[in-house]
């Protein structure tokens, strides 16, 4: 019965919290409004959901977020220097990264990380979900190095996080 009204209890709770944060208030009216939204929105979205693996190791996930934040900071400085320097130094290119992940949510997390970090933007996933195409702003001479970096530094950690 409870699962009929609240198919995604965690999401309902998060919607309520974010609603209160957006309005920066704790007034009763907004708590009621937030609760109604928290119940109605999951009910509408429930039929659209595809079952996904959950994060099984929250501590690993937190460490991963910190690592990515650090890399984003470094990425900003690297890209800023490249952009301000002479344009002839920029050697763009595409690489195809083989994926060990199989589910769409972990692949989304990996692809977003790749986009946020140094000089790489994920641009397409093959339909069999085995390859991630990445555009690189400044290609090293040996492209295998970069593929290994993405696999070792990010994909391994995402895999540990979801235990899949």
């Amino acid at each position: 019965m409870l699962t009929r009204i609240l198919p995604m209890p965690l999401h309902s709770f998060m919607l309520l919290i974010i609603w209160l944060m957006i309005n920066s208030t704790m007034s009763l009216g907004h708590i009621i409004l937030g609760t109604v939204l928290g119940i109605v929105i999951p009910l509408l979205c429930q039929p659209l959901r595809v079952p996904q693996p959950h994060v099984r190791r929250p501590i690993k996930a937190a460490k991963y977020v910190l690592l990515v934040l650090k890399d984003v900071f470094v990425a900003n400085i690297e890209v800023a220097l490249l952009v301000m320097g002479p344009m002839r130094n920029i050697k763009p290119g595409f690489i195809a990264v083989p994926l060990d992940l199989r589910d769409t949510f972990p692949i989304t997390v990996l692809a977003s990380t790749v986009t946020m970090t140094p000089g790489t933007v994920s641009s397409e996933v093959s339909s069999d979900k085995k390859w991630l195409y990445v555009h690189v702003l400044n290609m090293p001479d040996n492209e295998q190095e970069l593929i290994d970096l993405i696999k070792q530094r990010y994909e391994r950690r995402v895999k540990e996080m979801f235990e899949c």
Partner: protein
């Protein structure tokens, strides 16, 4: 507001402004759509981040009010920025936008736009 907080807020605002400016300069200087995607997705995250931190410090010290809207802006920015960049790159590939001449492995675009693995045979 003490002198030290004023300095911290100003420095954060300057860093933020410089990074956002570099992101925009990159957008106009780089030569094709794919490389242009890099400038705004990267250079603006730290830029906007430090502007938002400066805003939080200002609100906390001057208005005595801990503002959490900035945290939400950061959260939504981190979720939406990579998805936008991905969709833009994907749309460019599917419309056959030409990359700049010295792009390595430019033939991967043809495979990618059909979502084929890179080692597959193309039927012409």
């Amino acid at each position: 507001m003490s002198f030290a907080t004023e300095v911290i807020i100003s420095v954060l605002l300057i860093i933020g402004g410089v990074f956002v400016l570099i992101g925009s300069i990159g957008l106009s200087r780089l030569q094709d759509l794919y490389t242009r995607l890099h400038a705004p997705t990267k250079a603006t995250t730290v830029g906007l981040g430090s502007i938002l931190v400066a805003s939080m410090i200002y609100m906390a010290y001057v208005r005595d009010f801990l503002s959490i809207n900035e945290l939400l802006i950061t959260l939504f920015l981190v979720i939406t920025a990579p998805v936008t960049a991905h969709i833009l790159a994907k749309a460019a590939m599917h419309n056959g936008v030409k990359p700049m001449e010295r792009t390595k492995n430019a033939d991967l675009i043809k495979k990618a736009r059909q979502q084929l693995p890179p080692d597959s045979q193309m039927e012409e």
